[in-house]
């Protein structure tokens, strides 16, 4: 059997570090073939990221270092993937399902005339090639898709594939960009996020604590933060809490927002409308604390507590502290 090369597009931060999803993308690639990384950075920023890619299982890494990476939207990454894909005869290309990744996948799919599978939560190989798994309508249905022929462009939902590939010493191959299409949007300004949070990222966290409208205020929402930190958990919020301004948009869990499947999900003051459930109902264990005994979140909670979050949660934190010391 010939070697099945699977490309993984690995985003790099302006600092030169690989973005956290790299291990998962390469782990997913290893499930269906030989992982080959592709990364594009500003000049002089690729070396460390390429070595880390090897650590996460990339047997080879295609590297583009070019000024246009920080000034031109999507085009450098799409061009690098077209070239790398041709060089190794890629059978599939894995790209993160996020704002930048979706654009890259879209351009690549049309340009190379390849089928595309989006928001993919798993991959496997059957007799005929690569199969993508999807979780549809807020995880109510599971489907599988495959290309009729040709390679498959995949955007992978972060936090959905557990497999990790063993580290290797990668072959690093430098690529030059071709001429980029002139009709590309320009990046005219970059502002880095405020200081990075020490909390685990919501999408990949084993435990998620999420706060809702029942927390009542920005000050009240701090209770969710406190519990998240006590448990080493990621922090999430319901749409109602985001709309009310208690939490930033990036924390929104639900139909519109992030979909999570942690081991443990603790919902504080969240009523649990169907749109919220769509983003969290594949959590292994769900705990809900809410004053309203009729809240729909209780219909899917393994343990539901009808009570005041401002009494139950501090007692929980105290008890856990006491038991761990």
């Amino acid at each position: 059997m010939t070697e099945q090369n699977i490309l993984a597009f690995l985003p790099v931060l302006p600092s030169g570090e690989l973005v956290g999803s790299a291990a998962e993308l390469l782990g997913a690639a290893a499930l269906i073939g030989t992982p080959v990384g592709v990364l594009v950075t500003a000049p002089g920023k690729a070396q460390r990221a390429a070595e880390s890619a090897g650590h996460y299982g990339a047997t080879a890494v295609f590297v583009v270092e070019d000024d246009t990476v920080s000034s031109t939207l999507t085009a450098p990454a799409a061009d690098a993937l077209v070239t790398a894909g041709r060089a190794v005869g890629a059978e599939a290309v894995l790209i993160p399902d996020d704002v930048d990744g979706r654009d890259i996948a879209a351009r690549l799919s049309v340009r190379t005339q390849s089928a595309i599978a989006t928001d993919v939560v798993g991959v496997h190989r059957d007799d005929e090639g690569v199969v993508a798994h999807h979780s549809v309508y807020g995880s109510m249905f599971t489907t599988e898709s495959a290309p009729t022929h040709g390679s498959l462009i995949i955007t992978l939902r972060e936090g959905s594939v557990e497999n990790r590939a063993p580290g290797v010493d990668p072959k690093i191959r430098r690529l030059d960009l071709g001429e980029l299409p002139s009709q590309s949007a320009a990046i005219i300004e970059f502002s880095p996020s405020a200081e990075a949070s020490t909390r685990p990222d919501l999408r990949g966290a084993d435990t998620v604590v999420a706060g809702g409208r029942g927390l009542g205020s920005v000050e009240g929402f701090a209770l969710a933060e406190e519990l998240a930190d006590a448990l080493g958990a990621g922090l999430g919020a319901s749409r109602a809490a985001v709309d009310a301004g208690y939490a930033p948009n990036s924390l929104q869990v639900g139909q519109t927002g992030v979909t999570v499947s942690p081991e443990l999900y603790i919902a504080l003051g969240i009523s649990g409308a169907v749109q919220h459930q769509a983003g969290m109902q594949t959590a292994k264990t769900v705990i809900a604390i809410n004053k309203d005994p009729e809240a729909p979140i209780f219909d899917i909670a393994d343990l539901g507590i009808v009570g005041d979050v401002f009494e139950v949660v501090p007692q929980l934190i105290e008890t856990l502290k006491a038991k761990s010391s």
Binding site: R107, T118, M140, L264, A273, L303, G304, G307, V312
Partner: protein, 257 residues
């Protein structure tokens, strides 16, 4: 300036949504079709720009079954000027490659300067159609924008990226898509509803657009569909002053902390 807005009819995500377990397609009888909320924000952005500027025309574009016509009439009442509806039985279950081809073809005909879409639909959650259209039309994309500024020759906006936020700018013609950060739609007034009945609504079949859905190009096909077992309720307790302690014990016993 002519702005086209991509609108989509979807199963209401506030109700029960189902896939048919025999065909893998959306079961349209399971829930009421509604205008996807994110695309209503795109319409609002176009209409409010048209109100604040001279000579701006707003055209709605959709691909969907017959029921989408009612959605288009309702959406025209928000203040758009015309609607374009691609309707063809061959489009049932179309993959994103075909959907992008169809939408790009109808947009080419309309000859617009700016195309506005929602960032990710609530049913397919693909989020790639706007940029696939841009690639097909050979124009720029600026998607998932949290802010949008339109001038006669450019669009500018902010969007999330790795490690921060970028401001991006594209020369027109271009495709943009908007996030939930944009304002929701206005309620159409009586005047708008009456006016919408007379606005032009054009329909197209695949043959009109010169598209062959059976063309031998790579397609994505569905191999299997299954329904996830529903989640059931577990234990529910009422706090009697010790629920925090009980919860701590539960988490420790289940080795979740």
């Amino acid at each position: 300036m002519k702005i086209a807005v991509l609108v989509k009819e979807v199963p209401d995500s506030y109700g029960e949504r189902r896939l048919s377990l025999t065909t893998g397609l959306a079961d349209r009888s399971a829930s009421d079709p509604v205008l996807d909320e994110i695309t209503s924000r795109a319409v609002e952005a176009a209409v409010s720009y048209a109100e604040s500027s001279e000579d701006v025309e707003v055209a709605l574009v959709t691909m969907g079954p017959e029921s989408a016509e009612a959605m288009l009439r309702k959406t025209l009442a928000m203040g758009a000027d015309s609607a374009h509806h691609v309707i063809d039985p061959e489009l049932a279950g179309s993959d994103m490659t075909l959907s992008a081809e169809v939408l790009a073809a109808v947009l080419q005909r309309i000859e617009c300067d700016l195309i506005i879409a929602g960032d990710v639909s609530s049913d397919g959650s693909g989020g790639v159609i706007p940029t696939m259209i841009a690639e097909r039309m050979g124009i720029a994309h600026a998607t998932s924008l949290d802010t949008l500024e339109i001038t006669e020759s450019t669009v500018t906006g902010q969007r999330a990226t790795y490690g921060g936020t970028v401001t991006v700018q594209a020369q027109l013609p271009a495709v943009v898509s908007l996030t939930e950060r944009h304002p929701g739609p206005r309620f159409p007034g009586f005047k708008g509803i009456m006016a919408a009945k007379k606005k032009p609504l054009e329909t197209y079949a695949l043959a009109d657009l010169g598209i062959d859905p059976a063309a031998d190009v790579p397609r994505s096909i569905m191999l299997a569909v299954s329904e996830s077992p529903p989640r059931s309720a577990g234990e529910k307790i009422v706090d009697e002053g010790d629920a925090g302690t009980k919860l701590a014990d539960y988490l420790i016993e289940k080795k979740l902390v």
